[in-house]
């Protein structure tokens, strides 16, 4: 934890800086706390995947597991299944594709996924899908 940013408030296209890349261990996840446009705290699981060829990739999805109703996605084991990069939820082991958030066992279930990037050595996150949802509701 090199940074705390409790008061970060996100606008649609804002890139929020979350942490340093080194704070996330290779091929593992961590959980970030961000505040949404309507001041609600939101938990997002960020994964750092290093392919066997050494390529770095970052993914961000909801940390809330819709099957167990607990905030645990970031603690799942990552891997690949049928050429998709996935995380397995640690309680009941459903798999979610990291890029889309789609659950592989149940088509109707998915996690929101978010844009995430590396800016220098800083991991940054954008909350666009969240914002979209808020708009839909309104």
């Amino acid at each position: 934890m090199t940074q705390t940013n409790k008061n970060t408030t996100a606008n649609k296209d804002d890139w929020l800086s979350i942490c340093q890349l080194d704070d996330i261990l290779p091929n593992m996840g961590c959980c970030a706390l961000v505040n949404t446009a309507d001041e609600q705290a939101k938990q997002i699981a960020i994964f750092r995947i290093i392919s066997p060829t050494g390529e770095e990739q970052l993914f961000a999805v909801d940390n809330y597991c819709p099957f167990s109703h607990a905030n645990i996605i970031s603690r799942g084991i990552v891997g690949d299944l049928n050429n998709k990069i996935v995380v397995a939820s640690p309680l009941y082991k459903q798999h979610f594709e990291l890029s889309s958030g789609q659950c592989l066992e149940d088509e109707s279930v998915f996690l929101n996924s978010y844009a995430v990037r590396l800016n220098g050595s800083t991991v940054e996150l954008a909350l666009s899908p969240l914002a979209k949802q808020q708009q839909k509701k309104a």
């Binding site: 942490c19 290779p26 593992m28 970030a32 607990a70 084991i77 891997g79 990069i85």
Partner: protein, 847 residues
């Protein structure tokens, strides 16, 4: 007013009981008023497995009667009451206790009795037969004071009796009249090999010995004198010189009898009286008595079919092929073992180094199998038997069937070639079609096949064949019998274990790079990663959240606590053997109070603290470690607990210090990672207060040491543990456990408990014994060494973790905030916390 047909069953042995079961299965049992007489004091038990009574000396273990069977079906059972007369004119049977019952139909299932030749002295004390539980009780009692035992008769049952004497720690002799052992079933060459092997086991074999007199011994109870002038001193004698049908009732009633005894029956099992059936070993069909259980069961079915007119099966003779394990030696005999068919050919393979003898007898034209003898290795029994029974054409050069294959390929039978009607398991009369049906209905491993078809639950001789049919069928159904671990590794767990061990692979990256079947592009997955982590731990025992290993761990191992449904963890320190000082108990209480944790005593005799947030774990464990606690590995696929009773230290019944043994074992194996969790228990005497027989490894104290039980299970599929070895001293006990655990770790599938592991193992318990006790695979010193490495490299995972600031970082819930997960909400119930329900959470939010 009853219009029911009065049915009297005489004899409550395995076949009489099978008849009753088949009657119930026919759906017609309510048409009958059934009365059963059994001479023995207890209801039917499994005589085939009589010898296993010694294990626990508890008849329950070989009982055949399911709970409530007699009352639920309104069958009247008179045990300990022998029928003395059948009056065919008045249609009444009369018993020794004075019960008389009218009958419309009789089932005669009186079995047979052991023949005792009238050698002078045969009525002396301390001379026994081997047929009933009472016989075994008497032999056990006599063995307490005796040192030497002799069995007269070297046939199948004689050798079984010899094994029992040997197990009772007697110097054991087998006396055979014929020039070789098992003269009926096996040929000369086979007999010689068998003799060699049995002598290797410390049993003296004396052939061509005609016992002429039994008198007083000089230093023992008896002295046996033989026709050739030699003598043998012994304390105990067991006669096993053949069986004779118990046909006295039938004889007195005037039924048709064979010249040498036995009640003559037809294909419907009817005797010369159309109201009396005879089944089992008392019955004579085509001038033959069948001394095996399978034909008896077939007769029972034929009798039910004819009596109730619900089926059409007839008894049409039976195959007498047998396969058995005598004192750990495989022996099999099929069909014309002696090659008496005119013009037949035979092929023999003898290997003196490995003490294996195999012979096949084939037809003149090499096309059909007529018989076989297998000693020392009977792996081919199943397929050879099928070749014979189904008259299947042999491959050209049939000798290939028994020759060891050079390239490892097997020339056995293709199971596809078997007709659906082929009986795979003759003990339980299970056909290929039955197995296929079971697979269609969803059975997909041997354990499931055993429980739904009963196949392979008798003598076990058919296990290999049934497994082949099962796998073949699964494959056809498109359930590819893919034993690959996952998409990333085209290996079984066992293969992967060997690869990691042999190539000394210590990281997942290296494993992927070298052996990934996706050609180096895969990341691994939630199957292979924890599996590899577990194997790494079993082999190299590095810290589980070491940098190169942590990403492989399941969350429970990663956080070294069990994740609960709300994402919190439980904290379970080790309390070896359940022994805890008041001081430590107070520490647990203080921690629970300080961190507001739900507190419960577990079945494993320790304390479980629930509701710890990940970020609280380090602080909690710091206090615990400082107070002298270690991690309890409640989260790992690893040794959990060694449950114990107080044993001889406090308990008036205890015969050994079970407490000290439990603590020693728990400390020895703590941290050992394995394919699935391992549980142990130690009881201080046979009262078994620690419930050791429900554990993967159970130990029960005896007067002389420890009895070791293996592969039990509680939980979803309860299974009583099997007695593995008796009266062990401490050192041997620990050696056996070291080897057994390491062998399990080496060979089990992922997440396979020891019970399923053994049930799926070809040869089961006996095979396991041969590996662990007799070192059949020559592995034991290696296994012991591997275990020693694990024990030497033990560390308390939590202690190491709290000393390492790098590792501690990862316990916070957020990477960018010190806040807590606000979704973890507790309410109070019975003065303790519990996770709030969704509805309760909503309520708190709106407040």
């Amino acid at each position: 007013m009853s219009t029911k047909i009065k049915l009297v069953v005489i004899g409550n042995g395995p076949v009489g009981h099978k008849f009753l079961e088949s009657l119930v299965d026919s759906g017609k049992s309510e048409d009958y008023e059934v009365t059963v007489f059994g001479e023995e004091p207890i209801p039917a038990y499994d005589r085939v497995h009589l010898t296993s009574w010694f294990k626990t000396q508890d008849v329950k273990d070989i009982n055949m009667v399911s709970d409530g069977f007699y009352p639920n079906n309104n069958f009247t059972l008179h045990t300990g009451d022998k029928v003395t007369k059948i009056d065919r004119f008045k249609k009444v049977v009369v018993s020794e206790n004075g019960v008389s019952v009218c009958y419309d139909k009789i089932i005669l299932a009186t079995g047979s009795f052991p023949f005792v030749p009238p050698v002078p002295g045969h009525q002396r004390d301390n001379i026994f037969v081997y047929r009933t539980i009472e016989d075994l009780e008497k032999i056990t009692a006599a063995a307490k004071t005796g040192k030497v035992g002799a069995v007269i008769g070297g046939g199948l049952l004689g050798l079984e009796a010899a094994k029992a004497l040997k197990n009772l720690d007697l110097e054991t002799h087998v006396i055979e009249f014929a020039p070789r052992l098992m003269a009926v079933q096996i040929d000369d060459g086979g007999g010689q090999m068998l003799r060699k092997k049995i002598q290797d086991l410390g049993v003296s074999v004396h052939t061509q010995k005609n016992t002429q007199n039994i008198g007083d011994g000089d230093s023992t109870v008896h002295k046996m004198s033989f026709a050739d002038g030699e003598e043998l001193e012994t304390d105990i004698i067991v006669f096993s010189a053949g069986i004779r049908p118990r046909d006295e009732l039938a004889r007195q009633a005037g039924l048709g009898m064979g010249a040498r005894g036995g009640v003559v029956i037809n294909n419907n099992c009817l005797t010369s009286d159309a109201d009396i059936y005879a089944i089992g070993e008392v019955a004579l069909w085509d001038n033959k008595i069948y001394g095996l259980i399978a034909p008896g069961n077939a007769m029972a079915q034929a009798a039910v079919d004819h009596l109730t007119q619900t089926g059409t099966s007839e008894f049409a003779g039976a195959d007498m092929s047998t396969k058995l394990k005598l004192m750990g030696v495989d022996v099999a005999s099929i069909g014309d073992a002696h090659g008496t068919t005119p013009n037949c050919r035979s092929y023999t393979y003898v290997n003196d180094r490995e003490e294996v003898y195999k012979k096949i007898v084939v037809s003149e034209d090499d096309k059909y199998l007529l018989g076989a003898v297998l000693i020392g290795d009977a792996a081919e029994y199943g397929s050879l038997l099928q070749f014979m029974l189904n008259k299947m054409e042999l491959p050209s050069e049939p000798e290939g069937l028994i020759l060891p294959s050079v390239d490892g390929s097997s020339t056995g039978i293709g199971v596809d070639a078997l007709p659906d009607s082929a009986v795979l398991c003759s003990c339980m009369n299970v056909s290929k079609a039955d197995v296929i049906d079971a697979v269609q209905a969803g059975a997909c491993d041997m354990a499931a096949i055993k429980s739904c078809t009963k196949a392979a639950t008798g003598c076990g001789g058919c296990t290999a064949l049934v497994t082949q049919v099962l796998n073949n069928e699964l494959e056809k159904n498109g359930v590819e019998v893919n034993t690959d671990l996952c998409q990333h590794f085209a290996y079984t767990r066992q293969d992967l274990y060997n690869i990691i061990r042999v190539e000394k692979i210590k990281s997942f990256e290296e494993l992927l790079a070298k052996h990934d079947s996706t050609s180096g592009m895969g990341l691994g997955c939630d199957i292979c990663k924890p599996t590899a982590a577990s194997i790494f731990a079993s082999c190299w025992n590095e810290h589980i959240i070491d940098k190169k290993l942590h990403g492989l761990q399941d969350t429970n191992d990663y956080y070294m606590g069990n994740m609960q449904k709300d994402g919190t963890y439980s904290v379970v320190p080790r309390v070896a053997g359940g022994e805890i000082t008041p001081e430590k108990l107070i520490v647990l209480g203080k921690v629970a109070k300080e961190f507001n944790l739900y507190t419960k005593i577990t079945g494993g005799q320790r304390v479980d603290l629930f509701g710890a947030r990940s970020e609280q774990l380090p602080a909690i464990w710091k206090i615990l470690v400082d107070a002298g606690f270690e991690t309890g590995h409640a989260y790992g696929k690893s040794l959990r607990t060694v449950k114990s009773c107080v044993g001889s230290t406090w308990c008036r019944y205890g015969v050994q210090d079970s407490m000290a043994m439990a603590i020693l074992l728990e400390n020895r194996y703590k941290g050992l990672r394995s394919p699935h969790k391992l549980k142990m228990a130690v009881s201080g005497c046979t009262r078994e207060c620690a419930e050791a027989q429900s554990k993967d490894l159970g130990i029960i104290a005896t007067e002389n040491g420890w009895n070791m039980y293996v592969c039990g299970n509680g939980g979803m599929k309860p299974r009583h543990a099997d007695l593995f070895a008796a009266d062990l001293d401490d050192v041997t006990l620990i050696k056996y456990i070291d080897r057994l655990f390491m062998f399990y770790i080496r060979t089990a599938d992922r997440l396979q408990r020891t019970s399923v592991w053994m049930d799926n193992m070809e040869g089961g318990l006996e095979y396991l014994k041969s590996v662990i006790i007799d070192d059949k695979l020559g592995l034991n010193s290696e296994l012991e060494r591997e275990m020693a490495n694990v024990i030497d490299s033990y560390q308390c995972e939590w202690k190491t973790t709290i000393e390492d600031p790098e590792k501690l970082k990862r316990f916070t819930h957020f990477v960018n905030s010190k806040a807590q997960d606000d979704n973890i909400i507790f309410t109070t119930e019975r003065q303790q916390i519990r996770p709030a329900l969704a509805s309760e959470k909503l309520a708190t939010e709106t407040v």
